[in-house]
């Protein structure tokens, strides 16, 4: 196991290097740069732009910029933001807790929905519960996140007045209750979308495993049906589900971009939107590298978990 982990993590390094070069090229290929925003001010003249371009090092060749970025990044120096001049690490670290909070509660809630729904609708395939959850997940799959978020705001914040419409806490109030109230709607959006697709997968593989010889055999041996389902069928069906969850970890980064924007959630998703709009290269690079690294770590962890759940599969 330890060897497996070390090997996988060693593989991750060249992977991250390639990803970084690719992403660097891509974001520089997008029209406009960190200085483009100044062009909309009539008082900013070409001389000003040239002066700033030189001061920020944007007039150097691209490979040179990449190289110095990489060298500094390796040493732990993430540079300064092109928009507000603060250290990139500061800008990101102050946003991380909000995103971890949102993503982890969403993951937990999504799992809490997925497992009972997926198992039960597979076992009772075609019955009313299966139909109902199938329909619900279809709706969940068909609604864009930005849309679902606005709908919730209109119902729970505007019409009913139960929940704050957006933000992470009421300034000057704070406290656990206030915090939880702010968390409900963005979590619901992310969790519902995830659970909609995960429960489809789980239902699908449960239906397959329930029909497999070893499950039939276990049932024939007279084991209680529920125990067979949970011990044998679910265990076997978890493999593909874990594979999906790891994939969706990456998707969650994108999902959080939209959800955080709709709910004015002060996490790294909204920082990304802001940085992309400003072409804040240093912040963008650091964010994309961080999320890539996080996804790779998540994958390794999931593969390790997969190997534990299903010992026949080894990395």
């Amino acid at each position: 196991m330890a060897r497996f982990l070390v090997r996988r993590l060693a593989h991750a390094v060249p992977l991250l290097l390639i990803v970084s070069a690719l992403v660097f090229l891509l974001i520089h290929a997008a029209p406009g740069g960190p200085l483009a925003i100044y062009l909309s001010n009539p008082n900013v003249r070409p001389a000003d732009i040239e002066r700033l371009r030189h001061a920020l090092g944007l007039d150097r060749p691209l490979w040179d910029q990449y190289w110095s970025w990489l060298a500094a990044f390796m040493k732990g120096d993430w540079g300064y933001s092109f928009s507000d001049g603060r250290p990139v690490a500061d800008r990101i670290l102050e946003r991380v807790p909000a995103t971890i909070e949102l993503v982890s509660t969403s993951l937990v809630c999504a799992l809490a929905l997925t497992i009972p729904v997926g198992v039960w609708s597979a076992v009772r395939r075609g019955r009313w519960f299966d139909r109902l959850t199938t329909m619900t997940s279809m709706v969940g799959l068909s609604l864009p996140g930005f849309w679902f978020g606005l709908l919730l705001q209109m119902i729970f914040a505007l019409a009913l007045g139960w929940l704050p419409s957006s933000g992470r806490a009421t300034p000057g109030v704070g406290g656990a209750v206030d915090h939880l109230q702010h968390l409900v709607m963005p979590t619901a959006v992310l969790a519902l979308v995830l659970a909609s697709s995960w429960s489809r997968y789980l239902r699908g593989s449960m239906i397959e495993t329930v029909g497999q010889p070893f499950v039939v055999a276990a049932e024939a041996r007279g084991l209680p049906a529920m125990r067979v389902v949970l011990r044998h069928a679910l265990r076997n069906a978890l493999g593909p589900l874990v594979a999906i969850i790891t994939v969706d970890a990456a998707l969650l980064v994108s999902g959080a971009v939209v959800t955080e924007s709709v709910f004015a959630w002060p996490g790294i998703g909204s920082l990304f939107t802001e940085a992309l709009a400003r072409r804040d290269y240093s912040v963008l690079m650091a964010l994309l590298m961080l999320s890539s690294a996080a996804v790779i770590l998540f994958n390794v962890a999931a593969d390790a978990m997969h190997a534990v759940i299903d010992p026949r599969v080894t990395g």
Partner: protein, 251 residues
């Protein structure tokens, strides 16, 4: 049902009561009525006509991008899960690499750089969405291989391709069908998200995605603008899902 939807899209010019880009500024934002079943939008265009014409774009984007994603995913995941060893490691690390770049941001940047047409959009969305299928197929194949499928088939004299196509793929069909089903809805929604950032299907051409995006601005004043495209996306998701179930059951 799916056939009906595709049929409606194909027959859009006949079915639609108006041209999809016929502007009538004196009849803007009118609620659903006998003249306009789904109402009219900000420019007085008939929503029904736009939904029907939008079906051509959205169904193409959803279905074809799912096919692209499915084909790449099954190939990569299938080979990795079947071959194991070095090939598996190499393919799956590549998958991890592609996967580790957040998809929507990647697509946003790519769309900004390329200003894609509809066919290119399909390739982009499909090309950015195959990793899930690959991982599912690989996990399924790995599990099936462990159950002794391959050895018995090989012992019976079957070639690699035959084992893959005849023995492994049918058993993983349920999972593949689910992931393809999801990919259709996701493709349509990604196009919607791209419209949100102005890099999806360009107006005045209609797609369900850009109609939904345009409708969100007036959600509280003209909610009907969202009903039609929303319903059609839902119908498509359900139809594809049913078709997927059928397909999986038959194999």
């Amino acid at each position: 049902m799916l056939v009906c939807l595709i049929g409606a899209a194909a027959a859009a010019p006949r079915l639609a009561p108006y041209a999809p880009d016929q502007i009538d500024l004196s009849a803007r934002r009118s609620a659903p009525s006998a003249a306009h079943w789904f109402g009219t939008d900000e420019l007085g265009r008939d929503v029904l006509a736009r939904v029907l014409f939008g079906a051509r774009v959205s169904l193409a984007v959803g279905l074809l991008s799912a096919v692209v994603a499915g084909a790449i995913g099954v190939a990569v995941g299938g080979v990795a899960g079947y071959a194991g060893g070095m090939a598996d490691a190499a393919l799956m690390r590549t998958t991890d690499g592609v996967l580790s770049i957040p998809r929507l941001p990647l697509l946003m940047i790519a769309a900004v750089v390329l200003q894609p047409s509809v066919p290119l959009l399909i390739l982009l969305i499909g090309g950015a969405g195959w990793m899930e299928t690959a991982r599912v197929v690989r996990a399924e194949f790995g599990a099936l291989r462990g159950l002794g499928f391959v050895e018995s088939a090989r012992a019976a004299g079957a070639g690699h391709l035959r084992v893959l196509a005849r023995h492994l793929l049918p058993n993983a069909a349920q999972a593949v069908a689910v992931s393809l089903t999801l990919a259709v809805a996701r493709g349509i929604l990604i196009e919607s998200a791209l419209s949100f950032f102005g890099v999806g299907v360009r107006p005045p051409q209609a797609s369900w995605g850009n109609m939904l995006y345009q409708a969100q601005a007036s959600l509280s004043t003209e909610p009907w603008l969202a009903v039609a495209p929303g319903m059609f996306i839902l119908l498509t998701t359900v139809a594809v899902n049913l078709a997927g179930d059928q397909l999986a059951r038959r194999t």
